[in-house]
């Protein structure tokens, strides 16, 4: 006995063309969403852009200041000091006998 429903299954050509059509439709939809700035992969993120994007250029800045103690300004004698601010430690810290 043959199942009558098996005769109604689509042929391989129909499956192939149907798949291609579905892929093309989804691809077109995603392309459209991306083009208008609504990337679906970012839709779950809590971060939102509320203003114009700022492009910051990071400039490594080093400020060197020499502090010369003012005589009589402090009862504690202090020597000269160098001070600087920068992104990463320039001189490594060294442990040695002192």
């Amino acid at each position: 006995m043959t199942d009558p429903r098996r005769g109604r299954r689509p042929g391989p050509g129909a499956v192939l063309w149907g798949s291609i059509a579905l892929f093309a439709a989804l691809f077109a939809l995603l392309t459209y969403q991306l083009s208008i700035g609504a990337d679906p992969s970012l839709s779950g993120s809590t971060a939102s852009v509320t203003g114009p994007v700022q492009v910051r250029k990071v400039i490594k800045r080093r400020i060197v200041t020499t502090i010369v103690p003012t005589p009589g300004a402090n009862s504690v004698s202090t020597g000269p000091a160098t001070s600087s601010s920068y992104g990463a430690s320039a001189e490594p810290v060294t442990t040695s006998a002192s």
């Binding site: 502090i67 402090n74 504690v76 004698s77 202090t78 020597g79 000269p80 000091a81 160098t82 001070s83 600087s84 601010s85 920068y86 992104g87 990463a88 430690s89 320039a90 001189e91 490594p92 810290v93 060294t94 442990t95 040695s96 006998a97 002192s98």
Partner: protein
């Protein structure tokens, strides 16, 4: 990742502060560094045995048994006594008369020392230092309720063995809210901050004979300190070489077979204590002392020995006489 870097001379050494980003409602790093600098000078003014108007000198000259003392002096005395206790009496803060008798009566900051090689050639046979059988440090007490230091008059106290480490630890406590920081008081170093745990600092260890950087330790927290014979080495009145690390049993400079020791610990003052005790103990005892937390020993012949966790850490050879150790903690 931005850090404020301040370097200056104090306590007979170089002091360096590296301070990262402040926490909420905290002062900028530059302000914290300046405050820390003032603290270091106040610390030195109160606790230096070379400043005749210091509170420490006043304590040592005071004929009373119970002497009123500031919280800072009491803290320093407690740190010295804790170091003596931790080292079984090897790091003895009561060897003031002995160190002065050996010729160390004024600061040697900036003075060129004698040759370590010559000193080693003329030094007596090596032997480990031993604690003073009389344990004079046990006769010191700190009475915080009365705000006094109690001791037999005439028994001097020298904060030199723990002072720099204590200063680093006290400053570290005040910098706790900053993202990362290093307090380096003449090589006695304290590291802290949450960001340092993620991005550890690299601390170079100087070889006492060559002055070169022999090793690199990556540290995210805690203390590291080095003791050595290469600085504060001089000719005594008797023509013999002398240095500042005394054998408590004899009161004479200790020649133990080691010229340097570096220790890691939770705090700078503990690291300072361990490094001094290790050097005084000689190779065998030093190895045992540093085994738990890790460290380096430098032998009389210049050989560097890695001990404890550092010996087990993976080593990456770098060009020249340099190696990189695995991150600690």
């Amino acid at each position: 990742m931005s850090e404020h870097d301040l370097t200056f001379d104090a306590m007979g050494s170089h002091v360096r502060l590296l301070i990262g980003e402040p926490g909420p409602e905290m002062a900028p790093a530059s302000e914290a560094a300046e405050r820390a600098r003032r603290f270091i000078f106040e610390f030195d003014a109160a606790l230096s045995r070379f400043k005749l108007d210091s509170e420490l000198c006043a304590l040592n000259e005071d004929p009373r048994e119970r002497v009123p003392a500031s919280p800072l002096l009491r803290r320093a005395v407690k740190a010295g006594l804790a170091a003596a206790d931790r080292s079984g009496g090897l790091v003895d803060p009561t060897l003031l008369r002995e160190i002065e008798g050996a010729g160390y009566v004024s600061s040697r900051a900036g003075m060129s020392g004698a040759s370590l090689e010559e000193a080693l050639a003329g030094a007596p046979p090596r032997k480990p230092a031993r604690p003073d059988p009389e344990q004079g440090w046990r006769r010191f007490e700190v009475d915080d309720d009365a705000g006094e230091v109690v001791r037999p008059p005439g028994l001097g106290f020298d904060t030199g063995g723990t002072g720099k480490g204590l200063a680093a630890d006290l400053l570290a406590a005040s910098l706790r809210g900053y993202s990362r920081f290093i307090v380096d008081c003449g090589g006695d170093i304290r590291i802290g901050g949450a960001d340092a745990l993620v991005h550890p600092y690299e601390v170079f260890v100087e070889h006492p004979m060559t002055g070169e950087r022999a090793h690199v330790v990556r540290l995210g927290s805690g203390g590291v300190a080095t003791s050595g014979l290469n600085v504060r080495l001089w000719h005594g009145a008797d023509g013999r070489f002398a240095h500042h690390l005394l054998d408590p049993a004899s009161g004479e400079p200790a020649w133990t077979g080691l010229v340097g020791a570096t220790a890691l610990a939770d705090t700078a003052v503990e690291a300072e204590t361990l490094s001094k005790a290790a050097l005084l103990s000689g190779p065998e005892g030093g190895r045992e002392l540093l085994a738990e937390r890790g460290g380096f020993l430098v032998h009389d012949n210049g050989r560097v020995e890695l001990v404890g966790t550092l010996a087990a850490a993976p080593r990456i050879r770098l060009p020249g006489n340099l190696s990189l150790e695995g991150a600690q903690r």
